[in-house]
Amino acid sequence: MIVVEYVVGALFAFAGLASVIRIVKGPSILDRMIASDMLLTTLICVLAADMVFSGHTRTIPVIIVLALSAVFGSITVARYVSRQDPS
């Protein structure tokens, strides 16, 4: 089980790092939004994995709220995005 913890942790860490790199590099705001969506998904998965490894269910409400509110950020940004030069 401890090996699984390290493997899963490394994979999720890479996914989070990749989305942070994409947030920093851009180039457009939509890329950043996609990456931040994915960072949030990774966070949900990490919380879930922590529940499996530690054998508790305390963070289920956090996961519910994250799954509910994840949509608002990307909708808001996508709604007000206008034609722009890639920067």
Partner: protein, 185 residues
């Protein structure tokens, strides 16, 4: 009764599967060329990866209350992920934030061209008289009016669909605007 170790192994396998999906999404996010294909990669763990990880919790805990809460998470994610993907994809298409030479087929472009042709035949370009709400939702005409509006907005960089405000921040009346503009979304 199934021993706990079986549940542990099963949930470990599911967790690794979910983590591998996240890894694939991370690689896709870094290496894919444009926003739409990055979105394709990034949405893989959003539903299927989440299903795997939540199934791992369900196997690990296997109590009714936990599984019910996890179902709530899954249902909300399944309801909201397509909405945000739709909004981002639409904004990306309108922004031109895509590599057209990588597209195999672009049905939206054909629909927009067809709608623009129909619109030019019927009303001869007087877009101020057209209200989107009069047209059937999602029809070619409505799409063309919408597209005209968005392209017009890009030229004098107004806020997309927001009420025009005067200097003091009050919403300006329709009379000052000199004609009805097609309503916001």
């Amino acid at each position: 009764m199934i021993p706990q170790s079986v549940y542990d192994v099963a949930s470990s396998v599911l967790l690794i599967g979910g983590a591998l999906l996240s890894l694939a999404a991370g690689i896709g996010l870094l290496r894919f060329p444009d926003a739409l294909s990055r979105m394709h990669a990034a949405t893989k763990p959003q539903i299927f990866g989440l299903i795997l990880v939540l199934a791992a919790i369900a196997l690990d805990q296997h109590t009714v209350g936990t599984i019910a809460s996890l179902l709530v998470v899954l249902v909300f994610q399944m309801l909201t992920a397509p909405i945000s993907a739709h909004m981002i994809g639409r904004a990306g298409y309108r922004n031109g934030d895509l590599l057209r030479d990588q597209l195999v087929v672009d049905e939206l472009d054909e629909a927009v061209a067809r709608a623009a042709g129909e619109l030019a035949d019927t009303v001869e370009g007087d877009e101020a008289d057209i209200d989107v709400s009069d047209l059937p939702v999602g029809s070619a005409d409505a799409l063309a009016v919408e597209l005209d509006r968005v392209e017009g907005l890009g030229e004098h960089d107004a806020d997309d669909g927001e009420v025009d405000r005067d200097v003091e921040g009050r919403p300006s009346t329709a009379g000052e605007q000199g004609g009805s503009r097609p309503g916001g979304l």
